[in-house]
């Protein structure tokens, strides 16, 4: 009875989505790669091809190097804090599974991950505030002199790490909890019969089984930390009338080059560097996964 050809529906259904996908995803990605090889300042009609000159310049640009250094420190510190803390929390919450309060724990830990970034960053900004913030008052009780958290180049980095870890922990806990629920019950039973304590059972059964999940969460957290911007924007902007220490992160440097210095090609080269970092991290993850499943 059907007269329409079989391929008509899928083609008609897919075409608009693919067209959209091409225009707003594939094309801009290719354009970033292309622009990174040109020198272009938006306004000028001249757009000379410069090969890898942008990348060469980046390699000795102090602002860019500072940005990539800061971002790397932040990303790895956030992972170093988030993964162990989240694993411990997930293990503890998992022992309360089925009790009403476990839902409360889960929600409290997860909430910082889902509330809007800017108000959350503003809450921390007050905590870190040099004159009014409770953090200085708190450490003052232990005889530690007040610190200007958001003005000092090192401490402001610490503040960003704390803020980003606070946001990242909820996500990691959630994924670890899913992983822990998937650990076969029989393994725990066997361990218990062999006289293992629950701590030992966790250490020698759950943790090895969770390794791929831990790896995955580490990579996701690293990648998202390499992309931070809003947090740095909020923490560094005017504190009590005076600007705080600007923590130069990669995205911030890129946007500044593009929208303040109008160096689009140069900014595109930075975007390519960001892409390469993300690809390396993703590749490393796949590689480790494969090795694991082969072993």
């Amino acid at each position: 009875m059907r007269t329409t050809p079989k391929w008509l529906f899928p083609v008609l259904a897919l075409l608009p989505v693919l067209a959209l996908y091409g225009c707003i995803r594939v094309y801009p990605i290719i354009e970033t790669l292309r622009l990174s090889l040109f020198q272009w300042n938006i306004i000028s009609r001249r757009k000379p091809f410069v090969g890898f000159a942008n990348f060469v310049e980046l390699s000795s640009d102090p602002l860019f190097l500072e940005a990539i250094f800061n971002t790397t420190i932040i990303a790895f510190s956030v992972v170093a804090i988030t993964i162990p803390v989240a694993l411990a929390l997930a293990a503890l919450i998992n022992t309360r599974q089925g009790l009403r309060r476990s839902g409360v724990y889960e929600a409290s830990v997860f909430l910082p991950h889902v509330v809007s970034l800017v108000p959350a960053a503003m809450a921390w900004k007050w905590i870190f505030d040099a004159r009014l913030g409770p953090l200085n008052a708190l450490i003052g009780m232990f005889g530690i002199p007040a610190q200007s958290w958001l003005f000092d180049p090192v401490l402001s980095l610490v503040c960003l790490i704390v803020l980003c870890s606070w946001q990242a922990i909820g996500y990691a806990v959630l994924i670890f909890l899913v992983g822990l629920k998937n650990v076969p019950e029989a393994l725990y039973e066997a361990a218990r019969l062999d006289g293992a304590s629950s701590l030992q059972a966790f250490r020698y059964i759950a943790v090895p089984l969770l390794k791929p999940v831990m790896l995955y969460v580490s990579v996701i957290t690293l990648i998202s930390s390499y992309n931070i911007y809003a947090q740095a924007f909020v923490l560094a902007s005017d504190v009590q009338g005076a600007p705080g220490h600007l923590v130069r992160v990669l995205v911030l440097d890129m946007l500044e080059n593009s929208f303040r210095n109008y160096r689009v090609g140069y900014a595109a080269a930075e975007a390519v560097v960001l892409l390469v970092i993300v690809l390396i991290l993703t590749g490393a993850q796949f590689r480790l996964f494969r090795d694991r499943s082969r072993a």
Binding site: P28, L35, I93, V118, M122, L275
Partner: protein, 286 residues
């Protein structure tokens, strides 16, 4: 609670002293995680002298609405909330519908080229938005779409992960026989998609919708560069710019931030189940 199978058998020593210790630790951690947000909300209702008090009070002694009133008269905060709502809703609608149709076709139809298309979608999925936002911005600019809804939305119309999620679901959970039976009965393809497939995808689409909404609601860099009029700011951008320039007063800053926090916290508590499912699914796509 219904999904939990009462007691997890792996639970050891959850009664008595060990259990109590665990509850104390988890209780303390939960409190610490929430404390910054609690202080933020509490500061919104404090008078200037109380804001300086040490230790900071959790419940204001003389709660005042002055901060909130002055913020609302100084900034178009409700307008920003409205902008964010419209933006997030439109973005969600677009992501859910494009993912549903593309995921279904990619999962259930055998056309030459489909593996290639799917490969491209997966390959571009790992590219962060920040990498391609400059060319996207230039396109929006040359199309004259800066400070317009379409310009803002362009960045958030599709989600690779959404297409992926739907495709996986369709392949594993919707039997071919069901579709074949409908075809034998003479049903058109569009009818099958709308009447049979779509209702079956409610679960994953619900999770996807929450993720998409959250993604748009917390978007920052893109709305910051595309929407540059005070009246077209989204909530996140408006708030971030408000706190850079307009005021140095903690009470009013907290009031603005607390008001901005309400929609996202409310949304999270209403959608918690979907949210957790969506985030968990996005985490375990391997």
């Amino acid at each position: 609670m219904s999904e939990h199978e009462r007691e997890h058998p792996s639970v050891v020593g959850q009664s008595g002293a060990v259990g109590l210790a665990i509850d104390v630790v988890l209780g303390a951690v939960s409190l610490m995680m929430l404390l910054p947000l609690v202080f933020l909300i509490s500061n919104a209702f404090k008078t200037p002298p109380e804001l300086l008090a040490w230790p900071p009070t959790v419940i204001p002694h003389q709660p005042t609405l002055d901060n909130i009133i002055s913020v609302l008269s100084e900034t178009p905060l409700f307008r920003w909330i409205g902008n964010s709502l419209i933006f997030a809703t439109l973005s969600t609608a677009s992501i859910v519908s494009t993912s549903a149709i593309a995921g279904y076709v990619l999962g259930k139809f055998d056309l030459p080229g489909i593996p290639v298309i799917f490969g491209i979608i997966i390959a571009t999925a790992v590219v962060p938005f920040e990498v391609y936002m400059i060319p996207l911005y230039l396109n929006v600019q040359s199309a004259g779409l800066l400070n317009t809804w379409p310009g803002l939305l362009v960045g958030y119309l599709i989600m690779s992960f959404g297409i992926f999620l739907v495709r996986q679901y369709v392949m594993t959970s919707i039997p071919d026989e069901l579709l074949e039976a409908a075809r034998v009965d003479g049903a058109g393809e569009l009818w099958i998609f709308l009447r049979i497939v779509l209702p079956l995808m409610r679960g994953p689409l619900g999770a996807l919708a929450v993720l998409a909404f959250f993604q748009a609601w917390t978007a920052f860099a893109w709305p910051l560069v595309v929407m540059t009029n005070k009246d077209t700011y989204t909530l996140e951008v408006g708030l971030a710019l408000f706190q850079t320039g307009f005021t140095v007063d903690t009470g009013r800053l907290s009031a603005a931030a607390a008001l901005a926090l309400v929609p996202s916290a409310l949304f999270f508590s209403l959608m918690r189940r979907n949210f957790v499912r969506g985030v968990a699914a996005s985490g375990l796509k391997e």
